[in-house]
């Protein structure tokens, strides 16, 4: 076939049950090129890449490597063809060093020689500009270092076709820039690189060409130099949409939640919250930014009564009575019984906010089933609420009696957010509420949060996309390694400023 295509896919189709994950997808990647695969969540990007790396087997279609048709049945086959995939979730052994992880599972003849391997790791690092200590243990590493280990692992095995699945999701802006530099160097070295992403600005700044998938279908490929965000969005979503968030000025600010000096040591003995203090005001949207796993979850769960604390206080100011209540170490039930209208959209929607196997009505009931003295359930009110949410938020579902697990990610989130705001909360906390959602659903959620803010709720929003945080929030609290690195005015800040704050606690190793 075509001369220098490193890998070419032809009419690849993969079906799971009744869901078509990929339909007749064709694409090519050349050596010395970075190709972005762009698509919303659920558009089949990862499935497609899993077929190249031998995890799934395509139902139809052909794969060519260097013009020759191949059958990839297992990750081992993929390695044979020098394909290396860096997964979104790292697959590393925590107690091993970088080098040990890199050579793990290699079936090489000859003696096991850790020193030689470490030397080779070092030479690979130097060639492409990685910064890594080959003998450092994985559990002592930052997320970005772990990712580096994963990349070196596939290079060590001789991969010259690299696939990276959402590599920047866990990185700070600075780390992302560093990664891009390395990827460009690899491209110039003649490797073929595929990067899966849904972030438009990354696509534009990094890749040479972009292939767009929508709902499993291949939409087209464009040269990055000849396109812009608007065109790519249109290809991704299928229609023109305006991406605007109407941010209103906060008004009638009142102290609603005063958090002082929270300390939390988790079960493993790690200090996950360190002297965290802030105030959330009514009528204001407070964003929380930080690298994933910096204590965001513990902070919200502590406020919701799900995480016990070693130190500190969480004072709730009741807007009606003016009374002050300390919520620290109270159970969710006690908090509710105090009359605190605290709503919480947790990060783990189906594992915490909802019960996947239950239908929408029974999930509405989670918050209200205790009402009344009868020992039996009352399903009328939850049913009405379910119908109302389905209508108001246009939830796509066969009916109110469909198990929520069968709904798509966006609709699951609509059900959860809908239930949480139905109690007209005075405090609304949402952790990564748009993760995995398509663009339209994301903007619906942003608007719902805004609406609650305008109604006078104190809204706390934990986000990962800094562009969105800056556009949506009034103030942004930056959290790093469990402590507050700073609180900035969202209207007068930049991504770079927030990025620097995110890594402030470990300044020594950063900066180039």
């Amino acid at each position: 076939m075509s001369g220098n295509a490193a890998i070419e896919l032809k009419n690849i189709t993969k079906v799971f049950g009744s869901i078509v994950a990929n339909k007749d997808v064709c694409l090519t990647v050349n050596r010395g090129e970075i190709l972005s695969i762009l698509g919303e969540n659920g558009s089949g990007k990862t499935t497609l890449m899993n077929m190249i790396s031998g995890i799934y087997f395509p139902d139809h279609g052909q794969i060519f490597i260097d013009g020759e048709e191949v059958v990839i049945r297992s990750p081992k086959d993929a390695f044979k063809y020098k394909i290396g995939m860096i997964h979104q979730h790292f697959k590393l052994v925590d107690v091993f060093s970088a080098t040990e992880n890199i050579i793990l599972g290699l079936e090489k003849k000859g003696k096991y020689n850790l020193k030689a391997a470490a030397a080779e790791v070092k030479s690979i690092s130097e060639k492409y500009g990685f910064e890594i200590d080959p003998m450092k243990k994985i559990h002592e590493m930052s997320v970005s270092e772990k990712q580096t280990v994963e990349i070196i692992k596939v290079l060590f095995r001789g991969a010259d076709i690299l696939i990276l699945d959402e590599p920047t999701a866990v990185l700070t802006p600075q780390e992302t820039q560093k990664l891009f530099k390395i990827l460009r160097r690899m491209r110039d070295d003649g490797k073929a690189i595929i990067i899966i992403t849904h972030k438009l600005h990354e696509v534009l700044s990094l890749s040479d060409r972009v292939s767009v998938l929508r709902k499993g279908e291949y939409i087209g490929t464009v040269n990055t130099a000849e396109t812009d965000e608007a065109q790519l969005t249109e290809m991704m979503v299928g229609k023109k949409i305006s991406l605007n968030i109407d941010r209103s000025e906060p008004k009638e600010l009142e102290e609603r939640l005063v958090v002082t000096g929270l300390d939390c040591i988790n079960r493993e003995g790690v200090k996950v919250l360190d002297n965290v203090s802030f105030t959330a005001y009514s009528g204001e949207l407070l964003g929380i930014a930080g690298i994933a796993g910096s204590g965001q979850r513990e902070l919200l769960e502590a406020i919701a009564g799900l995480q016990s604390l070693n130190e500190g206080s969480i004072i709730y100011h009741d807007p009606k009575t003016g009374k002050e209540e300390n919520l620290r170490n109270k159970t969710p039930r006690q908090i509710r019984d105090l009359g605190v209208r605290l709503s919480f959209v947790p990060e783990d929607r189906l594992g915490m906010g909802l019960v996947g196997s239950m239908d929408i009505i029974d999930n509405m009931m989670l918050r209200s089933y205790r009402k009344g003295k009868s020992m039996f359930l009352e399903r009328k009110a939850p049913k009405d609420l379910a119908m109302q949410i389905i209508e108001d938020l246009s939830v796509v579902t066969p009916g109110a009696t469909t198990p929520v697990r069968q709904l798509s990610g966006g609709n699951v989130q609509k059900v959860l957010v809908g239930r949480e705001i139905s109690s007209s909360p005075t405090v609304l906390m949402a952790a990564y509420p748009v993760r995995g959602l398509d663009i339209n659903s994301s903007y619906l959620i942003y608007n719902l949060l805004n609406e609650q803010k305008e109604k006078g709720a104190a809204v706390i929003f934990v986000g990962e996309d800094l562009d969105v945080l800056i556009e949506l929030c009034d103030r942004i609290l930056v959290i790093g390694s469990g402590s507050v690195a700073g609180i900035v005015d969202a209207r007068n800040t930049t991504k770079e400023e927030i990025g620097l704050l995110m890594t402030k606690s470990k300044t020594s190793e950063k900066e180039e």
Binding site: V71, L306, P332, R333, I335, M352, G353, R367, R370, M375
Partner: protein
């Protein structure tokens, strides 16, 4: 490997079904039973040389051949169903209570102990009440001990409940010696055989009718409890996700303990019905493995008490029929168990085909 092989897809691969039409599901189940019969027939011919049709006719005769057999069938079904209903709330909560055998046995033991020690002390109706209370309480205690340990120290309930079975069995062994009639026989024998005190009354002239009615009432009660009560809802939430339960403020430990008390108490009731209603004595084998079979009954019915009526009936039908096969064909008891095993294997195995489908390689026109 030759090039030819390299280019081939795997011969078949397994894919998860998204859903299956109800009639197809029943067709698969029916097919499984037919296949099971076919395999047991082949095995019968190979091992014994008997005509398989004879074997199956004795199977059916054994289960429903006579009026008495039909009543025994129903009685055994009711007892198995009772234990299955007892384990269901625990399993729905994902608390793996495999100690139903011991919980029911200790209930049976408590019933027998009351019959032996309180006859003559209490008037007949009060005696039965005392027996009932004793069985319920002892079953509940047997179940709540592992639950408390689980709630407090997160111990493994599977091992714990299993071990509790052996303690119950040894307690019964001990008292079988202690209270043996006649002394030294090692058996308690029929208690109050002459006065019938503490025996459940026979209603409608049918020996087992009362037991069956009690279990029918429990079935309906359990169905309502799990589906319409707040407790049932909490059990479902805790079973699906303890995190969700905590998030909405359910006291998970309390629910675990409460549910295990109910589970154990119902096991106690099964022991009570077996001793006071049918056996009028207690031995190590009073429960006869129902505590374990019940788990299968409950799973097969997907924890729906109404379906459990069917699954327990099916299993008891097979057991009763298989016993008849061994006697009428002059085979030993193990043969009946082989056949029951084959049939149950197919019934459980067909669940795989309800959840997954096998896709074969399509023929390519190249």
């Amino acid at each position: 490997m030759s090039n030819e092989v390299k280019h081939r897809e795997p011969l078949f691969h397994i894919a998860k079904r998204s859903s299956i039409v109800w009639w197809k599901a029943w067709l698969v189940r029916l097919g499984a039973i037919v296949l099971a019969f076919f395999f047991s027939a082949v095995l019968t011919v190979l091992l014994t040389g008997e005509n398989p049709l004879d074997v199956f006719s004795s199977l059916i005769k054994g289960a429903i051949g006579t009026n008495r057999r039909i009543w025994v069938l129903f009685q055994n079904t009711a007892m198995l169903l009772c234990v299955a209903l007892a384990v269901t709330p625990a399993f729905k909560m994902k608390f793996w209570n495999i100690g139903a055998e011991g919980q029911a046995l200790i209930g049976a033991m408590a019933t027998a102990a009351c019959m032996i020690k309180l006859t003559g002390v209490l008037p007949a109706p009060l005696l039965i009440l005392a027996m009932f209370v004793a069985s319920v309480v002892s079953g509940a205690v047997w179940a709540v001990i592992p639950a408390l340990f689980k709630a407090k120290w997160n111990t493994n309930e599977t091992l714990f409940t299993l071990m509790m079975n052996y303690i119950a069995i040894q307690i019964v062994s001990y008292f079988s010696g202690e209270w043996a009639v006649p002394k030294g026989s090692g058996k308690i024998g029929i208690i109050n055989g002459d006065t019938m005190e503490g025996w459940l009354p026979v209603i409608g002239g049918k020996n087992y009718l009362l037991n069956i009615l009690v279990v029918a009432a429990i079935t309906v009660g359990m169905y309502i409890y799990l589906k319409y009560s707040k407790h049932g809802y909490e059990i479902a939430v805790v079973g699906e996700s303890q995190n969700t339960a905590r998030y909405i403020g359910i006291n998970v430990k309390k629910v675990i303990i409460r549910t295990m008390i109910i589970s154990g108490a119902l096991c106690g009731v099964a022991g009570f019905l077996l001793v006071a209603g049918t056996d009028h004595t207690v031995t190590r084998d009073t429960i006869a493995g129902r505590g374990f079979t019940a788990i299968m009954v409950s799973w097969l019915a997907k924890f729906n008490p109404l379906y459990m009526v069917l699954t327990s009936l099916l299993i008891v039908f097979m057991e009763r029929g298989a016993i008849q096969i061994s006697t009428s064909c002059g085979l030993n008891n193990s043969f009946s168990e082989i056949i029951t095993g084959i049939i149950i294997f197919f019934i459980i195995g067909c669940e795989f085909f309800l959840n997954y489908q096998i896709k074969f390689r399509e023929k390519e026109g190249k």
